[in-house]
């Protein structure tokens, strides 16, 4: 079967001007004066002439997509995702390379493209539909479905400038949702709208994908990518750096994000504290089951953290807390003393504190540790990102498969009762 999308070595170059006078757009006056001044400038700068820099937004980008696949494109800001979509949507031409698309293309780079505020909802449905490439007959046929999906039946004949932003976005997406292209290209349009709307959009995209349409989806929303896509591609500085199944590519994305953090492990503990001069925490090490320092914890394995403290004078009844944050800085887990009766009476001088969690219930991914120590109601020391570690995938519960979707893991027990009794559980599939 021929690939639906075949991107062959494309590059897109933008010329960045380093002129002293920066203007937002070219004017004829500027061009004429620069033509006259050019001979002089050439004499001044030698053979270089005008100082231009080529910025390659895409370079040697290659990938293919089979019909029916739902591919997520992820990457940091500036990686070239939107530029790639613009090239695929034929809005801008590549500087080099070639793209082959098999099938009609529907492009959603923005919700409500072409909506005119003076026209009514009904008129805008026709206009937007025509702009997206639907024929008048198609729009008329799907008109009722579109209005239903958007839930704006009462306001069809009011000018769109009177709509609330939610209604506007719902109507715009409703029209786009009823496009039936063979290739659908979507760029983070789900970033607008409330949760109910986003769920509706995702549902619709999944449905469209199941009908054999190839979907190319760009987003920063990892859970959305993980839910919707069957394959993912990671872009960095204009090229493909990783492609494959979604968890692997998302993991690589997180790894790159984390390694880009300015503070490394030793640095966080050695760095001066923002609010005070006292540095109580001087070391933090993660130990594996054998007691050796490690940066990786298998799924559901014990979490053994060894903290080095240098407190100087004795501290009575300190409370030590350990918080685990995910890549986005969201707190996923906090543990602290006193816990299960472990009360620390006092600490003095240099000492080591061990913190153990029997089975870490976190899903595979990258995490960082925050440390804090308080006593007598006041915080004595706190360190963000004192330690970074990763939980690796594995078969934790003998299920014969790796981690399924979710932010944490749990052991489960199942049993079957014969039918006819008051309660029964169906066998797991």
């Amino acid at each position: 079967m021929h690939p639906a999308i075949s991107v062959e070595n494309i590059g897109k170059c933008y010329r960045v001007d380093h002129a002293v006078e920066r203007r937002a757009y070219k004017t004829l006056r500027e061009t004429v004066t620069s033509l006259c001044a050019a001979p002089l400038r050439r004499l001044r700068n030698g053979a270089k002439g005008r100082a231009n820099e080529d910025f390659w937004a895409l370079r040697n980008l290659t990938f293919t997509t089979e019909p029916g696949e739902r591919v997520g494109i992820i990457g940091r800001n500036g990686a070239g995702k939107s530029t790639l979509l613009k090239v695929l949507s034929r809005i801008t031409k590549p500087t080099s390379g070639q793209v082959r698309l098999r099938g009609r293309v529907g492009s959603l780079l923005e919700v409500g493209t072409g909506f005119h505020p003076e026209l009514t909802g009904r008129e805008n449905i026709y206009l937007n539909g025509a702009i997206l490439g639907m024929s008048r007959r198609d729009i008329a046929r799907k008109f009722d479905q579109i209005v239903d999906f958007a839930e704006v039946e009462k306001f069809l004949d009011t000018p769109v400038k009177r709509y609330s932003s939610g209604m506007y976005v719902r109507l715009a997406f409703a029209v786009a949702a009823h496009l039936e292209p063979e290739i659908l290209i979507v760029d983070e349009v789900l970033a607008v709208g409330d949760v109910a709307f986003q769920r509706k959009c995702m549902g619709r995209m999944k449905e469209v994908g199941k009908n054999g349409c190839t979907v190319l989806f760009v987003s920063h929303n990892m859970p959305a990518i993980e839910t919707l896509c069957t394959r993912a591609i990671l872009l960095d500085r204009g090229s493909v750096v990783r492609e494959g199944n979604v968890p692997a590519v998302v993991g690589e994305y997180h790894r790159r994000l984390m390694s880009g953090q300015p503070q490394d492990q030793a640095g966080a503990l050695d760095a001066p504290r923002p609010h005070s001069n006292r540095k109580l925490f001087c070391a933090a090490t993660l130990l594996d089951e054998a007691g050796a320092p490690t940066q990786y914890i298998p799924l559901s394995a014990p979490f053994h953290l060894r903290l080095g403290l240098d407190v100087g004078e004795p501290i009575e009844h300190p409370l030590i807390g350990v918080g685990i944050d995910d890549v986005f800085g969201q707190r996923v887990l906090t543990v602290h003393t006193p816990a299960a009766g472990c009360v620390i009476e006092r600490i003095s001088g240099r000492c080591e504190v061990d913190c153990r969690i029997a089975h870490l219930p976190l899903a595979p991914g990258d995490y960082s540790v925050k440390l804090a120590i308080t006593a007598g109601g006041g915080e004595l020391d706190a360190v963000e990102r004192a330690l970074q570690f990763a939980v690796t995938d594995g078969d934790a519960f003998g299920e014969g498969r790796g981690h399924q979707r979710g932010v944490c893991i749990a052991a489960s027990a199942w049993c079957v009762h014969a039918s006819g009794s008051t309660r029964h559980l169906e066998p797991s599939v």
Binding site: K26, L28, G68, V99, R102, R104, S107, L109, L127, L132
Partner: protein
């Protein structure tokens, strides 16, 4: 450390409870698009324009609707504007300048010239600003960019048709009540063809202006100036310039200016005056050249619109 190597990745169906997407039966003839770098001069893609004809219709319809939304007089403005110009021109050129018009009532004479001129002026002004005005569309979705200036010209055509009804009304009024013998000759059937040539000229100039405006924003100021200048180069609107023995310079302008010949011919066809055939043919030729030049230049630069707008 590549942890995915440690675990045998579960098959797709294991993670997704739903069945794998069923591929739609591949249609025998699949629409294939190839995207490659810009090629410089390229031909008009007529087939693509035809495929997007409904979009062209909708863009025209949008321009018209929007123009008359929330106005008190609505479409009456299509008639009122040339009518008011007619009054001004009559007062000035007939009343003050005493320009002859044969045995035709001057208001009618000037109105028949003003109509196509009004169409030409609004076409090139609107088309010239259309591409820059559609910046949001151009950077977000693909369609043949020629549809944008074409739609502006289309909207002006609709206005013209509305205003022509007033012209015919005036002609009938003068014929029935004014007692002036208006010859409804067969040449009146030529008028739509002459108008089609004016459309070609307007489209050519408008498209050229649109492309230049996108690249060099100062054209926004050049366009109104250009329109005014062009009116001075087209005295045919309010008089018959050949009657006054124009000098060589004026002659060159009159023959090079396609609109001069076409407006003269249009008026002659509508009002039953003798049609200036040579002038018409020369103007027709120049119009076609303008159209071709405008469209070719536009096609050459349209790929870079999304990057420069």
């Amino acid at each position: 450390m590549d942890t995915s190597a440690l675990i045998k990745q579960p098959p797709l169906s294991a993670t997704e409870p739903e069945s794998s997407p069923e591929a739609r039966p591949v249609p025998a003839e699949q629409h294939e698009t190839v995207i490659c770098p810009s090629k410089g001069w390229q031909l008009l893609n007529v087939r693509e324009l035809w495929r997007f004809r409904e979009l062209l219709y909708f863009l025209t319809w949008r321009d018209i609707k929007v123009r008359y939304k929330q106005t008190a007089l609505g479409a009456a403005w299509a008639v009122l504007q040339p009518a008011m110009m007619m009054v001004v021109f009559t007062v000035f050129f007939r009343g003050i300048a005493k320009v002859p018009a044969g045995n035709l009532p001057y208001p009618l004479y000037v109105f028949a010239g003003l109509l196509p001129w009004s169409f030409f002026a609004t076409s090139i002004a609107n088309a010239g600003n259309s591409v820059v005005g559609s910046e949001r569309l151009i950077t977000k979705i693909y369609f043949p960019r020629l549809a944008i200036p074409f739609a502006s010209v289309g909207a002006a055509i609709v206005d013209f048709c509305i205003a022509t009804t007033m012209l015919i009304g005036l002609m009938l009024y003068y014929a029935v009540f004014g007692g002036i013998p208006i010859n409804f000759t067969a040449e009146i059937l030529l008028a739509p063809l002459i108008f089609a040539l004016i459309v070609l000229a307007a489209t050519g100039v408008g498209t050229l202006m649109a492309a230049l405006n996108a690249a060099y924003r100062d054209f926004r100021y050049v366009i109104p100036f250009l329109v005014q200048l062009w009116l001075f180069a087209t005295p045919t609107v309010y008089m018959d310039p050949f009657q006054n023995n124009p000098g060589t310079r004026m002659q060159v302008v009159l023959w090079a200016n396609p609109v001069a010949g076409l407006i003269g011919a249009f008026r002659a066809a509508m009002l039953g005056l003798p049609v200036p055939w040579t002038h018409l043919f020369v103007s027709a030729f120049v119009s076609v050249m303008l159209f071709v030049a405008g469209c070719f230049y536009f096609r050459r630069v349209e790929d870079s619109f999304a990057d420069i707008i």
